[in-house]
C-alpha cells in the first residue's frame, strides 16, 4: 500500500478552508442580489403603477397600455408577476448575481483542488469518512449548480445552494475533521466508489430540490396573499419563478435523484452482501436509506394523486431532504451500527 502524503493532505485542508471563505463571499453576493434586485423591481413597479393610475385617470376605466401592461397588473395586485417561467436568462443586468456566480466558479476550482489533492494524498477516492463526504458532496452540489446555471437562470437559488455548501464545508472542517488516512478493510471495495459516489450525487440533487421546494412554499404563500389582495412581504420572491414552475422543475430533478437513490440502495445492498454476508439487515443506516427512498416514492405518488400536488408534494420533498440530512449527521454520529465509518474517534 503506497504511503499517505501527509503534506499534500494538509494543503488539501487549506484549499478547503479557502474555498469555504470564497463561497461565503459568493453567498453574500447572492443575498445582496436578492435584496437589491427586488428593491429595484419594486421601485420600478411602483413608478409604473403610479404612471398607470395616472393614465387610468386620463383614459377613464380603460386598461393599461401595452407599455405598462404587465407591471400594471402586478401593481394592481390582480396577479403576481414572477420571474420568467422558463428560467431563461434575460437582458437585465444583475451585477451582484454575476459577482456571485464568478466567485462561486473560483471557489469551486479551489474546492476541486482540495478534493483532488486529498484523493492523490490518500491514493484512493476521496469519500471514505464524514469529512470527505462533506467536502466531496459540497463540491458536487456546487458543480451541479454551476452546470444547471449554464442552461437555466437559477441564480435565484444561489444564496440557498451556496449557503448549504458553506454549511457542509464548515461541518467538515469543524464537526468532522479527519486527517488523510488509508481505508479500513471493510471499506476497501470498488463498491465504495460506486455506492457512495451515486449517493453523493443523489444527495446533491436532493439539496437543489429542497431549496426549490422551500421557495415553492414561500412563493405559493405569496401568490395566495396576492390573490387575496394582501400586501406582499417577501419582495425577493419576484426573482423566483412561479410556484408551479418551481414544482415542475423540482419534480424533474427529484425524479432523476430518486432513480439514483434507488441505485444507491441497491448498490449498498450488494455491497452489504459482499461485506457482511446479507444484503439487507435493517442496520440503522439501511433503515434510514429505506425511509428516504419510501418518502420520495411517496413524493412521486403524491404528484399523481389528486389533492396532493403542489404544497403537499413540496412538503414531502422537504421531509425527504430532512431525512437525508438526518441520515447523514445524526445517524452517522450517534447511532451505532455496522456503518461506523464516520472517522470520528
Amino acid at each position: 500500500m503506497p504511503s499517505i502524503d501527509e503534506t499534500l493532505g494538509q494543503y488539501s485542508e487549506l484549499f478547503i478552508l479557502l474555498a469555504a471563505m470564497a463561497y461565503t463571499v459568493a453567498f453574500i453576493a447572492f443575498c445582496w442580489d436578492l435584496a437589491t434586485s427586488s428593491k429595484t423591481i419594486r421601485s420600478v413597479e411602483s413608478r409604473l403603477a403610479r404612471e398607470q393610475s395616472e393614465q387610468k385617470v386620463l383614459a377613464g376605466a380603460g386598461a393599461g397600455t401595452s407599455a405598462t401592461g404587465s407591471a400594471g397588473k402586478a401593481g394592481a395586485g390582480a396577479s403576481v408577476e414572477t420571474a420568467d417561467e422558463a428560467m431563461v436568462y434575460t437582458k437585465e443586468r444583475r451585477v451582484a448575481a454575476r459577482i456571485g456566480v464568478a466567485i462561486t466558479i473560483v471557489a469551486a476550482l479551489v474546492h476541486a483542488a482540495g478534493v483532488i489533492s486529498r484523493a492523490i494524498a490518500a491514493h484512493r477516492v476521496p469519500w471514505g469518512n464524514m469529512y470527505e463526504f462533506c467536502t466531496t458532496g459540497g463540491l458536487v452540489v456546487a458543480v451541479v449548480f454551476l452546470v444547471v446555471l449554464t442552461r437555466k437562470d437559477v441564480r435565484f437559488l444561489g444564496s440557498f445552494v451556496i449557503g448549504l455548501v458553506v454549511i457542509m464545508l464548515c461541518a467538515a472542517a469543524i464537526g468532522f475533521p479527519t486527517p488523510v488516512a488509508h481505508l479500513v478493510p471493510a471499506l476497501q471495495s470498488y463498491w465504495l466508489i460506486i455506492h457512495v459516489s451515486i449517493a453523493v450525487i443523489a444527495s446533491a440533487l436532493f439539496t437543489l430540490t429542497f431549496a426549490m421546494s422551500v421557495l415553492q412554499l414561500l412563493q405559493a404563500n405569496r401568490e395566495a396573499r396576492a390573490r387575496a389582495g394582501q400586501p406582499e412581504r417577501m419582495g425577493f420572491l419576484r426573482l423566483v419563478p412561479s410556484a408551479l414552475s418551481l414544482e415542475n422543475f423540482a419534480y424533474r430533478v427529484n425524479a432523476i435523484a430518486f432513480v439514483l437513490w434507488t441505485f444507491t440502495l441497491m448498490a449498498g445492498a450488494i455491497w452489504a452482501e459482499k461485506a457482511w454476508g446479507r444484503y439487507w439487515g435493517w442496520d440503522t443506516k439501511e433503515v434510514w436509506t429505506f425511509v428516504i427512498w419510501v418518502v420520495y416514492a411517496g413524493y412521486l405518488h403524491a404528484r399523481a394523486t389528486r389533492g396532493w400536488t403542489g404544497t403537499r408534494a413540496a412538503w414531502l420533498s422537504i421531509v425527504g431532504y430532512l431525512c437525508v440530512v438526518f441520515n447523514f449527521t445524526i445517524v452517522n454520529v450517534f447511532f451505532s451500527g455496522l456503518h461506523s465509518y464516520s472517522g470520528i474517534q
Partner: protein, 587 residues
C-alpha cells in the same frame, strides 16, 4: 389508481385532471381522466371521498373497500405510513441483529422495556403492525397493477385516438403552409407525415384520406407505461425473493482458530439460524481449515497509527470429505463460495493458548481460548471455563492485551493491536460452573453467582497476570495456569440464501422499469392537412403528453424541422417561391 375503470361507487378519480385539455376534442376529453395533458394543480374542487355511503350490501361493501384500498390516495398513505413505521427499528435495539443488547435494554429498563416489547418494538420488521402495512401496500399494489396492465394491453392494441377538431387547443401546436408550386398535395402530406412519425417511433394511423381534411393520429411511449408496470411488479418480486430466502435459507456463525477446521454440519456451527423450511440435509459437508491469518496495521501514519489495513485468511478447503484439498484466501469484502454457501470474514481476534492444571495435578484444559476484542488495540475480554478440573471446577474472567503498557497508576492498558507484549489479566473462581444442567450457556460469560472467588478479603491471590510463557500457582492448591502461546482466530458468517439471485434480478428490473417510466415521454401527435383556396397545402399538428413532459416543446420543434426538411428542402430550386412558406407558431 388512475386508470381503474370508474364504477359508480368510485366517488372521485385520483388522476390529475386536465381541464385545459378537455375542450381539445373527443380524444382529449376521454383521456383527461387518465392523466393526459400537463398536470394542472389546485384548479380542481377538492373532491373528498366523503360521499355518503349508500346501502351497498355485502358485495358492494367489499367492492367499496377494494376501491378504497386500491386508490392512489391509499397507496400514498400506506407508503408514508411505511416510512414512519420503519423508524422505530433504528431507535430501539433489534432482536435479530442484537439479541444481547435487547436483553440488556430490558434489564436496564424494567418499567418501560416490557411495554416496548409488547408492542414488538424490538422486532419491528417482523412485527404484526409493520407486516400489516407492507402487506396492505402490496395488496393495494396488485389491485393497482392488474387493471392498469389490462388497460394498457388494450391501449397498445388500439389505434391512436381520433384526431381532435381543434389542434390549436393542444399544449403544443404548429402549422406550416406549403406553396402550391411544391406540388405536395394534402394526401401526400399526411402520408409523408405518417412515414416520418413512424420512423420516429410513433404508431400511426392515417384517416380521412378521401376527405377534405385527411389526418394522421400517432402515439408513442408505450414503454413508459410498461416500465411503470415492470417497476411495481418487480417490487413484488423483490418481496417474494426475500421471503424465499427467509424460508429456505440458513445462516450460521463459526469461529476458527489458526490450525483448526470446520465441517459444514449442524454441530459444526457455534450459532445457527435456519429458515423456517430448512432441512438438515441441505448442508453440504464441505470443510474449511484456517492455515494462517495475516493482518496488516498502519505503521506509517501519525494520526491513524495501528489502524487495520488488511486482513487475509488462508484456508484449506475441501468441497466434500473425499475431495482434493485446495488452498484459498478469504478477505473482508471478498467472500468465498463453497458448497452452496458464501463464507464471509466478519471478525477476528486473539486466542491465547493456556494450560490449566487442576488441584489433582492433571491437565484439565489445554489449548487456545477465544478472547473478544473491544477496541482498536484489541483489548479483549476473556472467559475460561474448566469444567473438567478436580476436585473443584475452575473459572476465570479477565482480559487479554496484545501490547500491555502499565500506566503510572499501575493500571495496564492495551496500546497496540500487534502482540508486542502480550499479557493475560485474570480473576480466578472455583465451585460449580453450572454447566451440567444441560441448558445452553454463553461461553463468553461466566456466571459467578454459584462460584467462590479465589481472592477473599485481604488476600488477592486470585487476581494475577501472566506474560508470555509465565505460569501462576493458584491459591489453596487449586491448580495452576500457564500462558503458553498465542494464536489468531477468524469469525466467519456462513450463509445460504436461495432468494438472493431473485432479489438482484427483480431489483435490477425495478430500476430499469423505473427509469423507463420516469424518463420516457408518452406522447400523441396529430397532423392534419388541407388545401387552401389559393392552392397552398396547409399542414398543422398538435402534441399532447401524458402527465408532465418538459420535452414536448422540443418534440414539436423537431417535427417542424423534419417537415421542413421533407417538404421545403427542394424549395431552393424554385427560387421565386423561396420563403413563401411561413411557419406559424401558436403558443
Amino acid at each position: 389508481m388512475s386508470e381503474t375503470p370508474k364504477t359508480p361507487e368510485t366517488p372521485a378519480s385520483d388522476a390529475p385532471q386536465t381541464p385545459g385539455v378537455e375542450q381539445a376534442g373527443p380524444a382529449g376529453k376521454a383521456d383527461a381522466a387518465r392523466g393526459w395533458g400537463p398536470a394542472k394543480k389546485d384548479k380542481m374542487p377538492s373532491a373528498k371521498n366523503d360521499v355518503a355511503l349508500p346501502a351497498l350490501g355485502f358485495v358492494g361493501t367489499l367492492r367499496w373497500i377494494w376501491t378504497q384500498l386500491t386508490s392512489m390516495r391509499t397507496a400514498l398513505f400506506l407508503l408514508l405510513l411505511l416510512a414512519v413505521a420503519a423508524v422505530p427499528g433504528s431507535l430501539f435495539p433489534q432482536r435479530p441483529a442484537n439479541p444481547a443488547v435487547v436483553t440488556q435494554y430490558l434489564t436496564d429498563n424494567p418499567e418501560t422495556g416490557p411495554w416496548l416489547d409488547r408492542f414488538q418494538l424490538f422486532d419491528v420488521y417482523s412485527s404484526v403492525w409493520f407486516s400489516a402495512i407492507y402487506l396492505l401496500l402490496f395488496i393495494s399494489l396488485i389491485g393497482c397493477v392488474v387493471p392498469r396492465a389490462i388497460q394498457h394491453w388494450k391501449a397498445m392494441r388500439s389505434q391512436p385516438p381520433r384526431t381532435p377538431r381543434r389542434l390549436s387547443r393542444l399544449p403544443e401546436y404548429g402549422s406550416m403552409a406549403l406553396p402550391s408550386s411544391l406540388e405536395v398535395t394534402r394526401e401526400s402530406a399526411v402520408d409523408d407525415a405518417a412515414r416520418l412519425l413512424k420512423r420516429r417511433g410513433y404508431r400511426v394511423e392515417v384517416r380521412g384520406k378521401d376527405g377534405a381534411m385527411p389526418s394522421v393520429g400517432a402515439e408513442r411511449g408505450f414503454l413508459k407505461e410498461i416500465g411503470n408496470l415492470v417497476f411495481h411488479v418487480s417490487l413484488i418480486g423483490v418481496l417474494v425473493s426475500v421471503a424465499v430466502g427467509g424460508l429456505f435459507g440458513y445462516r450460521g456463525q463459526k469461529i476458527i482458530v489458526e490450525g483448526e477446521s470446520f465441517v459444514n454440519t449442524l454441530v459444526g456451527y457455534d450459532n445457527f439460524s435456519p429458515g423456517s423450511n430448512f432441512h438438515e440435509d441441505q448442508l453440504e459437508p464441505y470443510s474449511l481449515q484456517l492455515d494462517s491469518f495475516d493482518v496488516v496495521f498502519d505503521r506509517e501514519s501519525d494520526t491513524h497509527y495501528g489502524q487495520p489495513l488488511d486482513f487475509t485468511a488462508v484456508l484449506t478447503t475441501k468441497e466434500s470429505p473425499e475431495a482434493e484439498p485446495e488452498q484459498q484466501t478469504l478477505k473482508v469484502n471478498e467472500p468465498l463460495s463453497i458448497g452452496g454457501t458464501s463464507v464471509y470474514l466478519v471478525g477476528n481476534g486473539y486466542a491465547p493458548v493456556v494450560t490449566i492444571r487442576d488441584g489433582d495435578g492433571n491437565i484439565a484444559l489445554q489449548g487456545p481460548v477465544v478472547s473478544v476484542p473491544n477496541d482498536g488495540a484489541y483489548t479483549s475480554t476473556m472467559v475460561i471455563k474448566v469444567p473438567d478440573a478436580q476436585p473443584e471446577q475452575l473459572g476465570f474472567v479477565g482480559f487479554f492485551l496484545p501490547t500491555a503498557v502499565e500506566g503510572s497508576d499501575g493500571v495496564a492498558v492495551g496500546s497496540d493491536p500487534d502482540p508486542f507484549n502480550p499479557r493475560l489479566y485474570l480473576n480466578g473462581y472455583y465451585g460449580d460452573l453450572g454447566l451440567d444442567e444441560g441448558d445452553p450457556k454463553n461461553v463468553y460469560v461466566l456466571d459467578t453467582s454459584t462460584l467462590t472467588s479465589m481472592s477473599d478479603g485481604e488476600d488477592e491471590a486470585g487476581e494475577f497476570s501472566l506474560g508470555a510463557y509465565e505460569s501462576y500457582e493458584l491459591p489453596n492448591g487449586l491448580g495452576s495456569v500457564k500462558f503458553d502461546g498465542l494464536k489468531r482466530y477468524v469469525a466467519l458468517d456462513i450463509d445460504h440464501d436461495p432468494g438472493q439471485a431473485g432479489a438482484l434480478v427483480f431489483s435490477t428490473l425495478a430500476i430499469i422499469g423505473l427509469s423507463a417510466s420516469l424518463f420516457i415521454g408518452r406522447r400523441r401527435v396529430w397532423v392534419r392537412a388541407g388545401t387552401h383556396e389559393d392552392g397552398r397545402t396547409m399542414v398543422e399538428w398538435g402534441l399532447l403528453a401524458r402527465g408532465e413532459d418538459p420535452r414536448l416543446e422540443g418534440e414539436s420543434a423537431a417535427l417542424r424541422k423534419l417537415f421542413e426538411k421533407e417538404w421545403l428542402a427542394n424549395q431552393d430550386q424554385q427560387a421565386d417561391n423561396n420563403k413563401s412558406a411561413v411557419g406559424v407558431k401558436n403558443s
